[in-house]
C-alpha cells in the first residue's frame, strides 16, 4: 500500500470512465486456496443478490432494496482478509457484506422477506440486515452513521486487547458527511484497529461524484488525518484482498487505521425502482465488461487455482444453497402482531 493516494490511471471521476486497471501487477503472493476463497465469496454474494432480485420480482420483498450487484468483489476481498472474530460495519447496501462475512443465508433471506426466522426476526429488513454472531456490527439506514460505531468497536478491541480489527464499509456519498471527519480523526489520534473501506461506485443515488467531491479520489482525504490510503480496482477481489491484508496487518500490530478506496459500480439502480437513466451508456458498458465474478474466475483459472469444472461445481453448490435459503425464507412464517412489542429493552423497563 502506498502512503499517499493516487487515482486509478485514466479515471475521470463521475463522468464516462476509461479505466485501465487490472493489469498483471496484482497477485503477489496470493495462494491458490485464497483465490478459490475469493472466487467463492464473490460468487456467493452474486448468486444471493440475483435471488433477492428474483424474489423482489415476485413481490415477496417488502419495502425498498439496495442491491449489492456489481460490487461483490469489495465485500469478498475485504472479508477474505479478516478472521471470523473480526468485525465489519455495514451500510444501507449491506446484503453483500453480511453474506460475505459468513452470515447464515437462510436467516438473511428470511429477514429480507420480513419473516420471524430472519436474523433480526423481521424487525430490520434490507437496510438493517445484520448477523451479530457472524461479526457484523450492523447495517444502517442512515448514510455514514456506521463510521463512529466502527471507531467505537475498534476502540473496544484495542482496550480489551483482543487483536481483533474492524472493517467499516461506506459509500462515496457517505464520505461527505461529518461523521467521516470525526471518525477518521478519532481513529488516527487513538491509532484504532479500523480499516475504512470506501465503496466508490461514483454515485450517491443519482448524484455523480463530480458534483460532490472536489478531489481526484476520496482516498486523498485520508492524508489530512495522516491515515495511509490507497485506491484499488473494486471489481477485482484480489486487489481488494491484498490492500486489506496489508491494512489488517498494520491494525493488528497497533499501527492504526488505513483507508482503502475501492472503485466499483452498481449493476442496477440505486434502489427498488430506480432505472438509473442518469448514467451514460458507455460508462455502464465499460463497468459491465469488468464484471467482478468473471474477473476473479479468470484470475483463478489463469493461475490454475481452479479448473473450469471445479469452478462450475462450486457454482452449482452455491446455487443450491441459495435456492434452499429462498425456499426456507418463502416457507417461513411472518411474525405474530404481538411481537411488535418485543426487544425494545434488554432489561426491565
Amino acid at each position: 500500500m502506498v502512503s499517499t493516494s493516487k487515482p486509478l490511471s485514466g479515471v475521470t471521476l463521475g463522468g464516462a470512465q476509461k479505466l485501465s486497471v487490472g493489469q498483471a501487477n496484482y497477485i503477489m503472493a496470493v495462494t491458490k486456496k485464497k483465490l478459490v476463497d475469493l472466487y467463492t465469496r464473490t460468487l456467493k454474494v452474486r448468486l444471493f443478490e440475483e435471488k433477492v432480485w428474483d424474489l423482489f420480482g415476485e413481490n415477496l420483498v417488502p419495502g425498498t432494496l439496495h442491491l449489492y450487484l456489481g460490487q461483490e468483489a469489495v465485500a469478498a476481498g475485504v472479508t477474505a482478509a479478516l478472521k471470523k472474530s473480526d468485525w465489519v460495519q455495514s451500510t444501507h447496501r449491506g446484503h453483500g457484506h453480511v453474506v460475505a462475512k459468513g452470515a447464515d443465508m437462510n436467516a438473511a433471506l428470511a429477514e429480507l422477506l420480513g419473516k420471524r426466522t430472519g436474523s433480526c426476526k423481521g424487525k430490520g429488513g434490507s437496510m438493517h440486515i445484520t448477523e451479530f454472531k457472524a461479526g457484523v456490527l450492523g447495517a444502517t439506514g442512515v448514510v455514514a452513521s456506521g463510521l463512529p460505531i466502527a471507531a467505537g468497536a475498534a476502540l473496544s478491541c484495542q482496550m480489551r486487547a483482543t487483536k481483533e480489527v474492524v472493517a467499516c464499509f461506506f459509500g462515496d456519498g457517505a464520505s461527505n458527511n461529518g461523521t467521516f471527519g470525526e471518525s477518521l480523526n478519532l481513529s488516527a489520534i487513538w491509532k484504532l484497529p479500523v480499516i475504512w473501506i470506501v465503496e466508490n461506485n461514483f454515485y450517491a443515488m443519482g448524484t455523480p461524484i463530480a458534483l460532490t467531491c472536489p478531489s481526484q479520489s476520496i482516498a486523498q482525504r485520508a492524508e489530512a488525518y495522516c491515515i495511509p490510503s490507497c485506491v484499488v480496482d473494486g471489481n477485482n477481489a484480489v486487489e481488494v484482498y491484498e490492500a486489506t491484508i496489508e491494512a489488517v496487518k498494520r491494525a493488528r500490530k497497533g499501527g492504526g487505521p488505513s483507508l482503502i478506496e475501492c472503485q466499483t459500480y452498481r449493476m442496477r439502480g440505486h434502489s427498488r425502482f430506480d432505472p438509473a437513466k442518469y448514467r451514460p451508456k458507455e460508462e455502464v458498458d465499460f463497468w459491465l465488461s469488468k464484471d467482478a465474478v468473471e474477473t476473479i474466475q479468470n484470475i483463478a483459472l489463469e493461475k490454475k487455482a481452479l479448473t473450469k469444472k471445479e469452478a462450475k461445481d462450486i457454482r452449482r453448490k452455491l446455487q443450491k444453497e441459495v435456492d434452499n435459503a429462498a425456499d426456507f425464507a418463502v416457507k417461513s412464517e411472518y411474525p405474530e402482531p404481538q411481537e411488535v412489542l418485543d426487544d425494545v429493552f434488554a432489561g426491565v423497563a
Binding site: 451479530f132 463510521l147 468497536a153 429493552f345 423497563a349
Partner: protein, 324 residues
C-alpha cells in the same frame, strides 16, 4: 452520615463502578486531567484510572456517542459525557436512531449498555445554547432509559444503576444542583429505576416535578404548610421507566395535581404526565391539572429575563392556590 455535594456523589458512584468493573470507562470533551469536566464531575478520575479509561475526546459529539455505542456492543461499558445537554443535538443520530433502536431493529441480537451523561437547565446566564431542558425529546424516543436525579443521594445510586443497566441510559444532571449537599452513604447502594422519591407527604395537593424544580416544590410545600395546605412532593428520579404507581396513588389521595419542570411548556414531560393521569385517574381528580413550565421561547440571557423564564417557588404556590 457524611454530607456530600451532588457533584461528589456522582463522582463517587462513577469511581466505585470503575473499581468494580474494568470494562467501565469514561469519554468526553475535557473530562480528563487538565479540566476534570466542564462541571468538574470527573475531576481526579484520570489521575486515578489513567488517560485510557478517562479519555479526552475531540469536539466530535456524534462520534463520541457513536463510538460509545460501538464500544458498548462489543464488550465495554462506556460512560460518555456530552458537555452540555444542548449539544446532544449534534449526536442525535447516534443517540436516537442508533443507540435507541439497535436492539429492536436487530431483533434482540445485541443490547447497548451505554450511559450518556449530560447536563440541562438554566440559571447561569448561559443563554440559548447552554441552558435548555430537552428531556422530553428523549422520552419520545422508544429504547432509551432516562435518569433525572435532583439530589446527591439519588445521583450516586442512579449512576451506579445506570452503569449496570443493559440498555442505553440518558443520564441527565442539572447545573444548579451540583453544589447542593445531602447525606450520602460512603458505602455502596443502588437505586432502582422506576421508583419515585416522595419528599413531602400531604393530603391536599400533589406536586410532581424534576431537577431544580423539585427543590423549588419542596420550598413551596413548606410555605404552603404554614398556610394550612398539605402538599405531597414527588420526584420521579427516572422518566423511563416511569413510576406511574406512586403518582397515581398520590393523585387518588389528594385529587389535585400540579406539574412543574423547567422545560418550555409545549410538548414537555409535564404534558405527557398530565395525559397519563387523566387516562388513569380521571375520576379521582377534583380540579384541572396545572402545569408550571417555562414559556415557549428560547432561553434568554439577561438576568431579569432568565428569571422570568425559569419557574420559581411563587409560581408553584400560585398554581397550587388556584386549585386548592
Amino acid at each position: 452520615m457524611p454530607e456530600k455535594t451532588y457533584r461528589d456523589a456522582l463522582k463517587e458512584g462513577l469511581r466505585e463502578e470503575m473499581l468494580r468493573d474494568e470494562r467501565v470507562f469514561i469519554m468526553g470533551e475535557d473530562i480528563g486531567r487538565n479540566w476534570g469536566g466542564a462541571f468538574k464531575v470527573t475531576k481526579g478520575l484520570a489521575e486515578e484510572f489513567g488517560d485510557d479509561r478517562v479519555r479526552d475526546t475531540p469536539i466530535s459529539e456524534n462520534a463520541i456517542a457513536g463510538a460509545a455505542l460501538g464500544a458498548a456492543i462489543t464488550g465495554m461499558i462506556p460512560v460518555a459525557e456530552i458537555m452540555f445537554g444542548d449539544l446532544i443535538t449534534l449526536a442525535m443520530d447516534q443517540v436516537c436512531n442508533q443507540a435507541a433502536k439497535l436492539r429492536y431493529m436487530f431483533g434482540g441480537q445485541t443490547s447497548v449498555p451505554l450511559v450518556l451523561r449530560s447536563v440541562f437547565g438554566g440559571g447561569k446566564n448561559l443563554a440559548s445554547h447552554h441552558s435548555q431542558s430537552l428531556e422530553a425529546w428523549f422520552m419520545h424516543t422508544p429504547g432509551l432509559k432516562i435518569a433525572v436525579p435532583s439530589f446527591a443521594y439519588d445521583a450516586k445510586g442512579l449512576i451506579k444503576t445506570a452503569i449496570r443497566d443493559p440498555d442505553p441510559v440518558m443520564f441527565f444532571e442539572h447545573k444548579l444542583v451540583y453544589d447542593r449537599k445531602e447525606e450520602v452513604p460512603d458505602e455502596e447502594y443502588l437505586i432502582p429505576f422506576g421508583k419515585a422519591r416522595v419528599h413531602r407527604e400531604g393530603d391536599d395537593v400533589t406536586i410532581w416535578g424534576t431537577f431544580l424544580m423539585v427543590h423549588k416544590a419542596i420550598e413551596a410545600a413548606d410555605e404552603l404548610a404554614k398556610q394550612g395546605i398539605s402538599t405531597e412532593v414527588i420526584d420521579p428520579r427516572t422518566l423511563v421507566p416511569l413510576d406511574k404507581r406512586t403518582l397515581i396513588d398520590s393523585v387518588k389521595k389528594t385529587g389535585r395535581l400540579v406539574l412543574v419542570t423547567e422545560e418550555t411548556k409545549t410538548g414537555a414531560t409535564t404534558a405527557e404526565i398530565a395525559a397519563i393521569v387523566q387516562e388513569e385517574a380521571f375520576d379521582w381528580l377534583d380540579a384541572p391539572i396545572k402545569r408550571v413550565n417555562a414559556p415557549d421561547t428560547p432561553v434568554p440571557f439577561s438576568p431579569p429575563l432568565e428569571q422570568a423564564f425559569i419557574p420559581d417557588k411563587d409560581r408553584i404556590i400560585s398554581a397550587v392556590r388556584e386549585i386548592v
